[in-house]
Structures are given as structure tokens and as C-alpha cells.
């Protein structure tokens, strides 16, 4: 916990400065998570503000301060989900433009991360976002939280209120869909080439 329980209780009672302190403590972490989930740096601040606004209006519903962090994560997931759902059409239209060259470039970037520059980073972001568009918005967020944010299954269990096995199944299926998409985009030839290189 980045803040004390009594600070949360003060904010629940309408203490604006306590709320400000909570926002200051969590804003970087929340913005980081949102950045990974939505992959659009220009919209991160807007979505993060939405998370804290929702926090402000629903803080009174929080009964036990112990679950504050998973609960804040849930608000973050929901706000990101709403953002992604709104921009889904835009993302889908961009998916059609995804070329094999982009994926090959991302592949190369993943292999030699020391040579990153801004445009390559952007390509990696775009590629991963495009690959993630192969799964539903819910699974896309779940996959990002697990694989990119590095949340454990226990932590995800608290965020989603779903048992671990159900999460494992969802994650496995989502990964398979993303891999299938990756195969479609790169084609079998690149995998054969990789195999040859490996042998």
C-alpha cells in the first residue's frame, strides 16, 4: 500500500487534501498501467484522470480499506476498457494496414533492444497493439496486466474476483489467439527461417 488506511478513510469522509494525497501517491503507477494497456501515450493522462474521478465518486462504497489497491486496479481496468471500446473501430481499421514488414521490424527490435529509437518503439507499440486486437477487449487487458505489467495470478484474482483456474484458461486462450494472429501476419516462412537459424 502506498497510502495509510486512515488517509483513505479521511478521503471517504470528504477530505479533499486526503484525496489529493491518494492521487499523488498512485498517479504514476496508474498512468504506467494505462500506458501499457492502451498503448497510446497521448491519451494516458485523460484515462488516468477518469480513473481518479471514478475513485472520487465511488470511494464511499469501499467498505474495507485493505482491498483499496485491487479495487483501484479494477477502476483502471474499467476505464481502460471503456477507452479501448470507444477506439476499437479506429484500431480495427488500422489493423488492415498492418504489414508483414512492420512485424518483421518489431521482431528485429525485440531481438536487439539496445538499438531502439523512438520510431522503433512506436512500431513495437503499434505491432503489439495490433496483435492484441485479435482478442476481445477484456482479454486484451487481462493479457497486458499479466504479461506486460507482470501481475501475479493471485493479484489478478483479487482484481477480477474470478478464481485462478478460470483466469489461467482465459489467459491461455488469449495467448493462443495472439500467437495465431502473429502467425497469420508473419506467415509460416518466418518461423521456418527462425527454426533454421536456431538449428
Amino acid at each position: 500500500m502506498l497510502v495509510e488506511f486512515d488517509l483513505i478513510q479521511k478521503a471517504q469522509q470528504g477530505d479533499a487534501s486526503a484525496f489529493n494525497e491518494i492521487v499523488s501517491a498512485y498517479r504514476r503507477r496508474i498512468m504506467g498501467t494505462i500506458s501499457h494497456v492502451i498503448g497510446r501515450p497521448e491519451d494516458v493522462e485523460d484515462v488516468a484522470q477518469e480513473v481518479f474521478i471514478r475513485l472520487y465518486f465511488s470511494l464511499g462504497q469501499l467498505r474495507t480499506p485493505e482491498v483499496f489497491e485491487p479495487w483501484l486496479y479494477r477502476l483502471t481496468v474499467n476505464a481502460s476498457y471503456d477507452y479501448l471500446r470507444k477506439s476499437r473501430r479506429r484500431i480495427e481499421s488500422r489493423m488492415a494496414d498492418l504489414s508483414e514488414q512492420q512485424v518483421m521490424m518489431a521482431d528485429a527490435v525485440a531481438g536487439s533492444r539496445a538499438q531502439h529509437d523512438d520510431s522503433e518503439k512506436r512500431r513495437v507499440r503499434d505491432t503489439v497493439q495490433e496483435l492484441l486486437s485479435a482478442v476481445s477487449t477484456e482479454d486484451r487487458i487481462l493479457l497486458t496486466l499479466k504479461e506486460v505489467e507482470g501481475l501475479s495470478l493471485k493479484e489478478l484474482e483479487k482484481v477480477y474476483n474470478v478464481n485462478e483456474n478460470a483466469l489461467k484458461v482465459r489467459l491461455f486462450r488469449a495467448r493462443q489467439r495472439v500467437i495465431k494472429k502473429m502467425k497469420e501476419v508473419t506467415g509460416p516462412s518466418s518461423l521456418v527461417a527462425k527454426d533454421k537459424e536456431a538449428s
Binding site: N20, V23, S24, R27, R28, M31, G32, S35, H36, G39, P41, V44, E45, A48, Q49, F52, I53, Y56, F57, A106, D107, V109, A110, G111, R113, H116, E120, K121, R122, V124, R125, T127, V128, L131, E147, V148, R175, V178, I179, M182, K183, L191, K194, D195, A198
Partner: protein, 113 residues
């Protein structure tokens, strides 16, 4: 062979996710981050209050209308003799002529001649 390919793909995806983590910048909140949050909270509170007021007014109006209608119906019921009468009385009033006794002296009068 197929298992090897599958593992290779899995590893490749993990690598891509790691690259993605590094490619995503850690955005710094702008100077107006907090002021903007409060401005948006106030704006939402204003709209929530406005909707609340409208909803409250509508509920009050609906309650008043149903009260007036209720009173109107009950006063109509009280003033009407038809609604106060028993079923038999109402039936008798409606079919007075058909329920009158026949005043026959003999049963043979009913028989056709």
C-alpha cells in the same frame, strides 16, 4: 518438431511483450493533472445535481398527479348511486320490466290456444 515450433512462438511472444514494456514510456503527469481532475469532478457534480433536481421534480409531479387522480376517482365513486348499490339492486334497476311477476291466474293461460 511441432512442439519446438510452439515453444519458439511462445518465447517469441514473451520477447515481444518485454520489448513492448520498454517501448511504452512512463508518462509523467502534467502540471494541470490535479486541477483538471477537480474541474472534471465539479462539472460532473453540477450535471449530476441538475439531473437530480429534474428527477426530483418529475417524481414530485407524478406523485401529485396520482394523488389528485386518486382523490377524483374516490369522490366519483362516493357520489354515484350505481356504484354504491348491491349487485342485486343494480340488476333489478336495470331489468325491472323483465323481472316483473306475470300475474297469471291459471297455468293454462300459458298454454297456446
Amino acid at each position: 518438431m511441432e512442439q519446438g515450433k510452439s515453444n519458439d512462438r511462445e518465447a517469441h511472444l514473451d520477447e515481444l511483450f518485454r520489448a513492448y514494456l520498454e517501448a511504452c514510456p512512463n508518462p509523467e503527469p502534467g502540471a494541470n493533472f490535479m486541477p483538471n481532475i477537480w474541474a472534471r469532478i465539479e462539472a460532473r457534480e453540477v450535471s449530476t445535481n441538475w439531473f437530480g433536481r429534474v428527477a426530483k421534480t418529475l417524481v414530485t409531479a407524478a406523485l401529485a398527479a396520482s394523488l389528485i387522480l386518486g382523490m377524483l376517482i374516490s369522490s366519483l365513486n362516493q357520489s354515484s348511486a350505481f356504484f354504491n348499490a348491491t349487485f342485486v339492486e343494480a340488476l333489478r334497476a336495470d331489468h325491472a320490466s323483465t323481472l316483473e311477476p306475470l300475474h297469471l291466474d291459471r297455468i293454462s293461460q300459458l298454454e297456446p290456444e
